[in-house]
Amino acid sequence: MKYCLVVDLDRCSGCDSCVAACKHENTLNLGVYRNHVSAVGPMGTFPDIEMYWLPMQCQQCENPGCIEVCPTGASYRDEGTGVVLVNQDDCIGCESCLTGCPYGVRYMNPATNTIEKCTLCFHRKNDETWEPACVHNCCAGARIFGDLDDPDSAVSKAVAAAGENVHALQDPASLSPTTVYILSEKIATWQDDPEEVKRYEKK
């Protein structure tokens, strides 16, 4: 199975509710995250501009670079679901995995000295419906969750309906990220190498 997120960027309005939903659900301290949302653009010159928002979290790669470089085996991919997880008992906070992930979606938690990452709310796996908190609360209905190997899942259907508007992050190291982004030209042109505008940059 290939559980993952499909994020419809035609809908996403960059409201950061997914970040707050994740932080509350997973009891993360200030300054610690498992996801973030970047503004891409505006591109162009006023008033001929376009932009979109790019929610970023673990891309749930099929060949995760983070596992490869983990010296303790704490990082692993759950065989049953395809979700990349960290066994926090085994994580020593060495941050090696940060070098194996090209997407910057693993975060050090200084309070626990372990790595935080999106688990797709794996702890909700056996709930009545397995649905990550960010998906449930998304204010634009932009986040879709499910098994890409199941053609009847919501994610598979969304991907099929999106046709050529389906995108994935660049994959120079052949990690095969499973996360899918949908963006149509009508909203903005997909940027293979986006310049993310961060609100807050430490200087």
Binding site: D8, D10, R11, S13, G14, C15, D16, S17, A20, A21, K23, H24, E25, N26, T27, L30, G31, G41, P42, G44, T45, F46, P47, I49, M51, Y52, W53, I67, P71, T72, A74, V83, L85, N87, Q88, D89, D90, I92, G93, A111, T112, N113, T114, F122, H123, R124, K125, N126, D127, H136, N137, C138, C139, A140, V197, R199, Y200, E201, K202, K203
Partner: protein, 964 residues
């Protein structure tokens, strides 16, 4: 892919080491992870997936439905409790518009509920104002102290020495605040929103056609969000950003509409998310909406894109207007009886016959109200000519003349737009079925009344009223007419008109209104006139009413006039203040001008769940309020559903918002021996105890009482309004044999807002039977307004010292002044930002995220520069801000936190005001920008917000009983 050469088996030893490291981390004091109540499932998240299969993450939690109250949209939500602590919030998927969405403002109530900033007991000021020193006192002591101060002031200085205010976020007290001064016989109540937020659109809609307005972010526009809506093809979002202001409700609604293929046009100086996704974005120069609106009229008239049939028979545009400035009916539509002495009206006296130019007979002819198919005339919309030696023009002709100078090219030049884009926007609107959603932006300036007159007028000439798929609809079974529709006009539902016999009923004839004012039985019922004289005097004496009579719509005073009265004592001096909500110093325009008059005010009472700048700088007494997870309420409707905001927890001695003032009024009555001298009875309309609050909520939900409601919540929650979606009400034949029409004087849509002319002259329909003094006539149609502080060289009000025009708007993290103490909001949006075009920033040597100083003619504040092509090079955009960290106990030199980053230090609260509503200028004034440094006391690093995190002590607060 090569496997790691470390097998899991080999790392058994390593995991022991990792365990040790975790233990050290978890013992760090003060971190949420260490002290948050344990949520089943979260423990699983902490340990990843290494253990056995996870159990149900909600095991051991109690789920309760409620609604969010992070903003006015009150989205349905589900709360999860463990040991009487709310540990999880999520959106309720059953909600028809929000569909399970919950935004960051709502989610972060998990922290603000248990914030160390909460106040849990009544506080009396123990130091000087501004010192932030308090002593805890008992409720009895607090209520008696407040009542005594009010009573003494009234006895010494008169009833008008009392005043009230409301607003600023989290305020639910609309009815209570409006009626509190009535109980004390005082006219003075204000809200920083009101004339600057929603009143103009709300009141104009009521006067314009007696129905609901176009506001897309105030729960008003519902029709387009209907899940089975297949009719809407276009929505024009004018001066609103639903995805930011009301993210989970109308934001979600807009996302669904766009996904369905509905086209959108967005008029906003800022490249908001809704603008970014729009088919056409018009980034107009702030404050120039009237010019752009006139260009739409000109284009639509010239190209005959309007619905001629609807305009002819359902609007008043074909009416001949009296152009004789010496006439009593100057600027008003000519009545048939006035120029045709032999004319016998066939319609009832409450339905006057006007005059048109009839294309069938090519003559000036009486125009009686009827269904279009029964009309004897074919009225010309645009006509001017003479009749009996006098010159007349139709209202349509006046509109066309007003619009005539506003070619696409001229509008483009003055509004900083492109002519072809304006044309594309108009055609997208005109060639597709739908309507206009109108936001707060235009309320915040001189154009506050003109923009809604113009934008509702556009939907009216397009025939987009009371029809499926449009924005201007009248919803609910009660809007189905059985007789000639009328409006009552004093108060939200006009309830003070029958209560006190004040205010004319629009839709009654003059004679019937005179009978109404005498307390006689009429077609509109019977008013209680026993306190009419006093109630009418309060209307006459309200501050600022002579000039800005539209404020009567919500019974509010004109804020700058109140401030001046406090400063000068003219015409009377407000001295004792009860404020219902929020941080007035962050919300009031030109905040410094208010801070300066605080010493003139003898006694100031506040109430809120926490201490804000206002409480610290001004208040002598503060009552602790419940947060929304604690407060029972029937939420605002979402489509045809009303949801229960339930009482889930309750800590400390906090009370529902209505209670402190009601307790004070009761105490005053007791001290006076039953009746407050010169006060209206009942005056205050408010619940005084939690039991009364709960009973009111139960009744609103359709339950007989609170216990019954709670015993079977799902039976009553949500309450579904039957037959909510209604259309074509105006065509319904009613008891006089005529189509119902609209609840206006003419029984038609008053696209030419004729009642505004009468209002200026007498206060009609509000200040009645005793009129208000006349002021200059209000404009019944849009006319072009240039902002008083213009950024355009050569325009009046241009000053090279202040080259940028500043406008503002919301960000998704905060509603009004709320949530500045919510750590998960602040770490993502730590402090004030000003959006600046990169080209302009480069000229000023400013880089992304540099601190800058922003200076207006009134003051200076600081913000960080957010460089973006999303604003015009001469436009800058700021969210309002205030900083509760400035008076954190950890600060060496604490301040009130309202001067550093607060856009309302810059805003303009002096004339010119909007003529009808007295709105001052929160948006569209000019500033200069310089590179600067971070002010002291401001936090920006995520970790700095640690003192705002919930504490173990707050989680451990016992669940307490109702205080009253």
């Amino acid at each position: 892919m090569p496997k790691s050469n470390l097998t899991r088996r080999k790392f058994v030893k390593m995991s022991a080491l990792a365990g040790a490291a975790t233990a050290v981390g978890a013992s760090m004091a003060g971190s949420l992870a260490a002290c948050a109540p344990s949520v089943s499932g979260n423990e699983m998240a902490e340990t990843g997936g290494n253990t056995a299969e996870p159990t149900n993450s909600k095991e051991g939690l109690v789920a309760m439905k409620t609604t969010c109250h992070g903003c006015m949209n009150t989205c349905p939500a589900i709360a999860y409790l463990k040991d009487d602590v709310v540990v999880k919030l999520e959106g309720n998927p059953e909600a028809p518009t929000s569909r399970g969405s919950m935004c960051i403002k709502g989610l972060n109530q998990l922290h603000t509920m248990y914030s160390p900033r909460r106040i849990l007991h009544p506080l009396r000021r123990a130091g000087e104002r501004g010192e932030n020193k308090w002593e805890v006192i008992s409720w009895d002591e607090a209520v008696t102290e407040a009542a005594t101060h009010i009573k003494e002031a009234i006895e010494k200085y008169g009833n008008y020495s009392f005043f009230a205010s409301v607003g600023g976020g989290g305020a639910y007290s609309f009815m209570e605040s409006m009626t509190l001064p009535m109980a004390f016989g005082s006219p003075t109540i204000f809200e920083p929103g009101c004339a600057q937020c929603y009143l103009p659109r709300w009141v104009i809609a009521k006067l314009f056609y007696g129905g609901h307005d176009q506001s897309i972010c105030d729960n008003c526009v519902q029709e387009i969000f209907r899940p089975d809506n297949e009719e809407t093809q276009v929505v024009v979002v004018w001066g609103a950003q639903p995805s930011v202001s009301q993210t989970a409700e109308s934001g979600r609604g807009m996302a669904e509409l766009r996904a369905k293929g509905v086209k959108t046009v967005v008029v906003d100086p800022n490249f908001s998310p809704d603008a970014a996704k729009a088919d056409v974005w018009l980034p107009l120069r702030p404050g120039t909406d009237t010019k752009l609106i006139l260009s739409w009229y000109r284009y639509i008239f010239e190209n005959e894109l309007y619905d001629a049939e609807f305009t002819k028979y359902w609007t008043n545009l074909p009416f001949l207007i009296d152009m004789d400035s010496s006439s009593e009916r100057y600027k008003l539509p000519v009545l048939a009886k006035d120029i045709f002495p032999d004319f016998k009206q066939s319609t009832p006296a409450n339905t006057p016959a006007y005059v048109c130019y009839d294309l069938k007979t090519n003559a000036v002819t009486p125009f009686e109200f009827s269904a279009p198919e029964d009309a004897t005339v074919d009225p010309e919309i645009f006509w001017e000519g003479e009749y009996n030696g006098k010159t007349y023009k139709t209202a349509g002709q006046l509109y066309r003349e007003e619009a005539d100078p506003w070619t696409l090219e001229r509008a483009a030049e003055e509004c900083w737009l492109q002519a072809d884009k304006i044309e594309e926007a108009i055609l997208t609107y005109a060639n597709n079925w739908g309507g206009i959603g109108h936001g707060v932006a235009t309320d915040q300036g001189q154009q506050a009344s003109e923009a809604p007159i113009g934008l509702m007028g556009l939907d009216s000439i397009m025939g987009r009223i009371n029809k499926p798929g449009v924005t201007l609809t009248q919803k609910g079974e009660s809007t189905v007419p059985t007789s000639r529709p009328v409006t009552y006009n004093n108060g939200f539902s006009g309830m003070f008109s029958p209560m006190y016999g004040i205010g004319a009923v629009v839709g009654l004839s003059d004679e019937e209104n005179e009978a109404w004012a005498r307390g006689e039985e009429t077609a509109a019922g019977q008013a209680d006139v026993s306190q009419q004289k006093l109630a009418n005097k309060i209307l006459n004496d309200r501050l600022g009413m002579k000039e800005h009579k539209g404020l009567y719509g919500w019974c509010h005073s004109h804020i700058p006039t109140v401030r001046n009265a406090i400063a000068t004592g003219e015409p009377y001096k407000p001295r004792v203040w009860f404020d219902y909500s929020g941080n007035k110093l962050a919300m009031l325009g030109n905040a410094k001008s208010w801070y300066e008059v605080f010493p003139e005010i003898d006694y100031i009472i506040g109430q809120y769940p926490m201490l804000t700048s206002f409480h610290i700088e001004a208040c002598d007494l503060v009552f602790p309020l419940r947060e929304w997870l604690e407060e029972p309420m029937a939420a605002f409707n979402q489509q045809d559903t009303t949801w229960l905001q339930n009482e889930l927890v309750h800590i400390g001695e906090t009370v529902s918002h209505s209670i402190p003032a009601a307790q004070i009024v009761n105490k005053c009555r007791e001290l006076w021996g039953g009746h407050i001298p010169n006060g209206l009875e009942p005056g205050l309309i408010s619940d005084a105890t939690e039991a009364e609050v709960k009973q009111s909520v139960a009744e609103s939900m359709g339950a007989p009482d609170w216990e019954t409601l709670q015993a079977d919540v799902d039976k009553y929650n949500p309450k579904i309004a039957p037959n909510y979606w209604q259309y074509y009400q105006h065509e319904t034949i009613v008891d006089d044999g005529l189509p119902a029409g609209f609840a206006t004087e003419s029984r038609k849509i008053e696209t030419y807002l004729q009642i505004a002319v009468k209002m200026a002259r007498t206060g009609y329909p509000y200040c009645y039977p005793e009129p208000q003094e006349a002021c200059e006539d209000y404009h019944p149609i849009v006319h072009a307004i240039e902002p008083a502080e213009s950024p355009v060289e050569g325009m009046d009000g241009y000053d090279a010292e202040y080259p940028f025009v500043l406008t503002s708007g919301r960000v998704p993290y905060f509603h009004h002044g709320t949530m500045r103490h919510a750590p998960f909001s602040r770490e993502l949006f730590p402090t004030a930002e000003i959006r600046i075009n990169p080209a302009s920033a480069a000229e000023l040597g400013i880089e992304h995220m540099d601190w800058v100083k922003v200076t207006s003619r009134r003051g200076e504040v600081h913000a960080r520069a957010y460089l973006t092509e999303g604003v015009h090079p001469k436009t800058v955009w700021m969210e309002r801000f205030w900083n509760p960290e400035c008076y954190d106990a950890s600060q060496a030199n604490p301040t009130g936190g309202w001067r550093e980053c607060n856009v309302n230090v810059l805003t303009k609260n002096d004339a010119p005001f909007n003529e009808i509503f007295g709105s001052y200028t929160n948006r569209g004034f000019t500033v200069k920008i310089e590179k600067s440094t971070k002010p002291d006391n401001i936090w920006v690093e995520p970790e700095e917000f640690e003192p705002f995190m919930p504490t173990q002590e707050m989680y451990a607060e016992a669940k307490t009983k109702d205080v009253f």
